[in-house]
Symmetry: C2
Subunit: 453 residues, 2 copies
């Protein structure tokens, strides 16, 4: 490890420059205008894996390609599957970025760019740690495989098919994913639980075109009023979600977990200050950490209908659209939530409107065994990489692949997050700490060591 | 009148060509990008008034200019004030127009363009009828004044100030406005009642930027969910508006009016078919005509917040905006409605959000005396111009100037609509019948004759 440590330290600057090159590629998977950039990012990652000493290839799918890499020359040693993604969220609203989202800028020890923390920067630490071992020791203490996909931000539609069709190729003893956060600066964490997700879109079609609200208003259902009314029914004033049977089977938090969460340092006023809001709002009877990590949600992610330009325009709009997503907890079934939501919307829709409902692929929530030997190895590796032992936390986000690995490969996943919650992931001015980039890479190098012992 | 009739008939084609020239000018008053086009339209109308034989001038205001014209060489005869507007609604959604909104196209006897019926085409009939008299007889049987403004579609902010400051200049015995519709093709109408209007915009500000819905969702109020919830509370399932005290003082329809409305030909299935909706929706206990003409409304004209592009994006949006307008009936007070709506929204807003409320200038509803001598003259003129007697109707739209004329000039207004409800005013593919353009011009010419007798 001394050789590896020296190599990583000597090449720290080069590693940052190469990350910048990757961050310059606008690999926005949701927007079909960026298909060629997504492809370019895949090629970049493939090249990096090859340069680190792995076998690497680009696997085409029905959507964006998957990059697969491997170094499996250590018979008898455990095999670790590293998962990450090279695609990014759309960067808008663009006018809120201090520097452009695809022109990486280093300020105050952070690198700012779309994808900096989610997930290009974090994923990259594992490529660089493998390179550290292979370019110095000449081998790894474990076998490693990489699956770096390009559809994480749009539901990973083709990932499951790839794994399903390549079970032998993907076979492993444990998976590693760095797509979560530390608990706080200086408090690295292992995430043992994630929320699931359900995403859908509702379109309400009213009159065949926008109508004069004076001539026609009052006589037919207005699709914007109606959509608002439907959405308004989804959550009551105490923050409880009103989709029928929504809470059926929801696994309650254990007393141990509630105590552990309560013991984590958390300053609500600072949290609110960072977000720029004056008060919390959520499900009655739960703390903010519980609401974020272990209780389900129903958020409208976007809505549009009618005239949205300057000044007034007195119309009855022809249509209205909303994107709605629910974060799910164990043991909610995504398919039930989708069905119950759609029925609820249809049953409450005013007469005369046409309701169109579509949904994207979601995933269930997961909670992992906190005491497995892999988990122990990760704890040691992080303590050595960061100089402090990690805390055990849950996260509110969703990483669908964790469920896929369990189901198709029968392995647990180590969620080792190097980022921070304040890294503005999915928001303007996304960033990643250069120190965390360095510490994460070192922890990853230690992880190969600890898993290989 | 024979000379006038011949002149109008001989110049029918020229009149259409000149109207097309006016319709080519995108005089969108709501959008500050079109300021110079609005100015250009004012100059065009001024030139037309001068060519018809009137004195004409452009009067600058704090906003868009007013065109004032007059011919007052008939001492002792009544003075008629013609009001119209040369500004138009924004044309979007642009992709739903068969031909571009500012490239007038004649199809099936109609002229298609933004402003064709609202109000360039209708307003123009009075300029052309005056021209008919002055270019043949050499004088009019009445004195006429024209006020053609450029801010009707944005609340007529500067019109009242102009009239207030120029009461002598604007003094008249009766006002004439053609900015309404016939009851149906072949059924010209005089509109004796109009709804008023209240227009506002609500902005809800949540977090200082869009947030990851997994990391933060469930712990703070989502501005889109909250705005939808607030809007959802505005109307109950029976179509009754829930703004506190909204119906206070509302003048009920008389039994005579309800009977007269019920006796008008109205085919609900045809109405719905034209609009492309499968059912009506409105206030319980009222017919469709009553709901459109004589009952108040609360319509969201537009809403936007969060991600509205392709595919999913799992965020808690930073903000949400809605434009809301209410059509008012006698004797609702606009200022009370504004106040009660704002309070209602503030009282029901979830914690942690900032609510910003702004409102534009509105106007009260009006109902005119159906039996005045001016009304009788108009009935005769329309019967002669259209070959059939008009029906007496109310309209759901708002023409604020009618209240202004009553208040500042102490005169009633004759609402003589040459358009059709199906003319797509405020919608894509706005149109105006060329036959109605001709008949309206002839009726206007007869009106001067009847009022001057």
């Amino acid at each position: 490890m001394e050789l590896v440590k020296k190599y990583l330290s000597d090449h720290a600057e080069r590693n940052v420059e190469e990350l910048k090159d990757l961050l310059r590629i606008p690999s926005i998977s949701a927007d079909s205008n960026y298909i060629s950039s997504v492809q370019e990012a895949a090629e970049f990652v493939c090249k990096q894996l090859a340069e680190s000493g792995c076998d690497a290839e680009i696997v085409e799918t029905a959507g964006h390609p998957i990059v697969f890499g491997s170094w499996t020359k250590k018979p008898g040693a455990p095999t670790v599957l590293v998962y990450g993604h090279y695609d990014v969220q759309p960067p808008d609203p663009l006018d809120e970025w201090v520097t452009p989202p695809f022109e990486p800028d280093v300020r105050d020890g952070n690198i700012y760019a779309r994808g900096a923390t989610d997930d290009k920067g974090q994923m990259y630490t594992h490529i660089k740690s493998v390179q550290g071992w292979l370019q110095t020791v000449g081998e790894l203490p474990v076998n490693v495989k990489f699956i770096i996909e390009g559809e994480e931000e749009v539901g990973s539609d083709n990932l499951d098919k790839f794994i399903e069709a390549n079970k032998e190729k993907c076979a492993c003893d444990v998976a590693v994913v760095s797509d979560t956060s530390q608990y706080a600066p200086g408090m690295p964490a292992i995430t043992y639980g994630l929320r699931g997700i359900m995403c859908c879109e509702v379109n309400l079609h009213g009159p065949n075109q926008d109508l004069h609200s004076g001539v026609f208003g009052g006589s037919i259902a207005n699709p914007v009023n109606a959509l608002a009314m439907l959405i308004g029914k989804l959550i009551d004033t105490e923050g409880r979600i009103q989709i029928p049977n929504f809470y059926d089977g929801v696994l309650p938090l254990t007393e141990e977990e509630r105590t552990a969460f309560a013991n984590l340092p958390f300053e609500e006023s600072e949290y609110l200050g960072n977000l720029g809001v004056s008060a919390t709002f959520g499900e009655e009877g739960f703390t903010t950490l519980e609401r974020r990590w272990a209780r389900p949600t129903c958020d409208v992610n976007g809505i549009v209908g009618g005239y949205t330009g300057e000044g007034p325009k007195t119309i009855v709009p022809a249509k209205a659209t909303a994107k709605i997503s629910c974060r799910l907890v164990p043991n909610q079934q995504e398919s039930n939530v989708v069905q119950n939501l759609e029925s609820f919307l249809r049953e409450n829709c005013p007469p005369g409107l046409k309701l169109e409902f579509k949904h994207w692929h979601g995933c269930p929530a997961v909670v992992c065994d906190m005491n497995s030997p892999y988990m122990q190895a990760a704890k040691v590796a992080i303590e050595k990489g960061f100089g402090t032992a990690p805390v055990m936390i849950r996260e509110g986000g969703s990483i669908p692949v964790v469920g896929t690995f369990k189901e198709l490969l029968d392995v647990d996943t180590l969620l080792l997050g190097w980022g921070q919650n304040t890294d503005n992931l999915h928001s303007p001015n996304e960033k990643f700490s250069l120190e965390a980039f360095q510490q994460g890479t070192l922890s990853s190098a230690w992880l190969w060591n600890e898993l290989g012992v």
